[in-house]
Amino acid sequence: MTQVHEMSDIPVAGTRRAGHRGVDRVLIPFLAPAIALMTLVLVFPSAFTVLLSLVDWRGPGAPMEWVGIDNYTSLWTSRAFRVSFTNTLVLVFLGGAGIFAVVFFSLMVLRGMRGAGFIRSVIFVPYIISPIAIGAALGFLLNPQGGLNTLLDTVGLERLQRAWLAPEMVFQMIVIGLVWSVSGFYIAIVATGTDQIPPYLYEEAELAGASRWKQFWLITVPLSWESVSVASTLWIITGMKTFEIVIAFVGSQSSPPLQARTAAVQQYLATTGGPEGVPQLGRAAAVGIAIFVVTTVLVLILQRVMRRERIELS
């Protein structure tokens, strides 16, 4: 019975009372399993990763040597890490711009169109396919003797033929391939917002003489802002971890060419040591933490930038 009385004192959010300490004690048994589980699967591994980033270690059986922050400082002096990290940021921002350009353009064009749902589904299909398969297929398509150069030859545009996977082009191709393969997913997310917009708003806007572009900026964007925010956040997290498609593009016979690498690829190389090497787990942990920190900062900045008062339709 005592507990019943105490339960009735559970504070409502934002109404903490003086007697809340006693209430917390009651909550502890309920929270304990979740806290224990999270400690086991999240806190311990995270703490171990942080510890690992401060040592030089090739893995079980090898000595572990304390190196302090050397694994972090060596990242910033490493040409390979700088290039891969710059590539990652280029991919997140320019790739992101490309994705959301495709998203907005598609939604603008498809709105009210017959068969829009079907077209949206078709655009979504590449997202279902494994990035490995997409990367490998695009890689062979872009080979010097591949489909693209053959097509250019057939239509008389030989002057546009390139070695699309050569060092100076390969990362651009990877970004384009990624934009193509994931745009359908972000269209689906943003569409959850745009689908809620009442059609009469567009009808009234048309009667008032607003162009499609104006309708898009004055109706679609403000009223789908939350779904755009969610999609943007997901893209930053996904983009910062881009890995498989790079490997698929250039193959796994060797370490990927530097120009094609992302930060996650650098982490993979450190984790495995590459095709012939041994792991450098301390460095791999440092790269992983760097990716995590930058991702977190970018997400926080994004959320701040995209914070808006919610628009309610009456």
């Binding site: 002096t77 890689g139 070695a163 060797s254 495995t272 012939e276 041994v278």
Partner: protein, 439 residues
């Protein structure tokens, strides 16, 4: 996971009795051993294989195990775990939960030795190959034994060999079988001759950094001896050696000589080697596996063959990368494991690596596939002091330097982005940074 750990007390006693019965007996598997298959009953060796179900190596190991068990009664509990076995293997061996037998090779035995994973297999060299009347040591060339050692002790029973050489179509250029180029200048003259005939002398899948690096690797070790490339990671002063600049100039000469087509740096594996097999390129410097990989693509009348990258003076450095079977330092079945290895060393078993998998077998008397006979003969005759491992073992011993510094710098050299001098400057600068933070 570890089958022998599930053996009950009775089984353990029987197993121990079996081991004791076999101890000190290096000729266990004479022909008459098959008459008494109960000799080592209840002894089980565990083996984590780096092969996958269905590939030739798995079929070969199954055949060896089946014969071994039929003749000896010793079971081998094999798990085909594929190439990704390495991390599981390291974790298991480090905690004493690893298998008795596992696959290893020149590329990783130094690391495994440093971790204390490897049993000393020197006693295997003196064991008689069952039914053949000769010790294992007499069946394997010195150069191959050299590549199978870590810290001067035999670390694996070598089963097959990888190397690299310049591939050509002997059906089209038969004279190169008898008179391959002997010097760098002769090689360049050969390329010039082919170029003058309107041929594309060299093919390359330029998106594979590990293939692009073959040219500088060979140039460095021929000019400076084994270890020259590996030592670039260890001291920036090594970049100042004249042979390093000379090696880089050779690569620059290839690029500027127009011996490759215009798009080689964008070529995705295996396009270039398939085009070579279709006679679109005259030569490719690549691993000994390339002939086998292109068999189905080879043009009519194609006869894949190799000649060595030219040596320097009397020196001819050659890559001999051994692959084979290692025994865990923690094994409780050492004698049975050595028996298995001596059994796997039998001629009819070792021959399978050539006939079924298309490799150069480790045994000297195993005839290699026709395309590898020339390379095999060079390996057999190689001076052990002139032998090096895959990529001069630079990738195995300095993986971060290799992946982050040397391969990217070499790609820049091989693509023509950097001159030889700029390559040296960049390599030296990045190595200094690397050694400053990691050295």
């Amino acid at each position: 996971m570890f089958r022998k750990s599930r053996i009950g007390l009775t089984g353990a006693v029987v197993a121990l009795a079996g081991v004791l019965a076999l101890s000190g007996c290096g000729t266990r598997f004479q022909d008459d051993a098959g008459d008494d298959p109960t000799v080592q009953q209840d002894v089980t060796l565990t083996y984590w294989a780096a092969w996958s179900e269905g590939e030739p190596q798995q079929v070969i190991m199954d055949a060896i195990i089946e014969d071994f068990t039929a003749e000896t009664g010793v079971e081998v509990d094999v798990q085909y775990m594929g190439r990704q076995v390495t991390q599981s293997l390291i974790n298991a061996l480090a905690t004493g939960e690893g298998p008795d037998l596992f696959d290893a090779g020149t590329r990783n035995i130094m690391d495994f030795q440093a971790r204390g994973f490897l049993a000393d297999l020197d006693p295997l060299l003196d064991r008689e190959v069952p039914g053949e009347g000769v010790p294992v040591s007499e069946t394997i060339a010195d150069s191959v034994i050299e590549s199978s050692q870590a810290d001067g002790k035999l670390a694996i029973l070598p089963t097959y060999i990888n190397s690299n050489a310049i591939w050509f179509n002997a059906g089209r250029f038969p004279e190169l079988r008898e008179t391959p180029p002997q010097t760098w200048d002769e090689l360049i003259a050969l390329f010039d001759e082919h170029k003058a005939q309107g041929l594309v002398p060299i093919g390359a899948d330029g998106t594979v950094s590990g293939y692009n690096v073959f040219w500088i690797f060979q140039s460095l070790v021929q000019l400076g001896g084994p270890g020259t490339m590996r030592e670039l990671a260890e001291d920036t002063a090594n970049w100042d050696a004249p042979e390093v600049l000379e090696a880089a100039k050779r690569v620059q000469q290839l690029v500027e000589g127009g011996y490759l087509d215009d798009t080689y740096m964008g070529s995705k594996y295996p396009d270039a080697q398939n085009r070579w097999a279709n006679d679109e390129y005259s030569f490719m410097l690549n691993g000994s596996y390339m002939g086998g990989e292109t068999t189905d693509q080879q043009a009519e009348g194609f006869e894949a063959d190799t000649f060595l990258f030219p040596g320097e003076g009397d020196n001819q450095v050659i890559e001999v990368t051994a692959n084979g079977l290692a025994v865990s330092a923690d094994t409780e079945e050492m004698d049975a494991a050595l028996d298995f290895l001596s059994y796997a060393a039998k001629s009819d078993h070792q021959t399978l690596w050539s006939t079924e998998a298309g490799f150069i077998g480790a045994r000297s008397d195993v005839e290699p596939p026709a395309s590898l006979i020339s390379l095999y003969e060079h390996i057999q005759q190689a001076d052990p002091d002139q032998v090096t491992g895959a990529h001069d073992l630079a990738a195995a011993t300095h993986p971060q330097w290799w992946n982050d510094i040397f391969l990217p710098a070499n790609d820049a050299l091989f693509s023509g982005e950097l001159t030889a001098e700029a390559f040296i400057a960049r390599g030296k600068e990045d190595t200094a940074t690397f050694l400053g933070s990691d050295g």
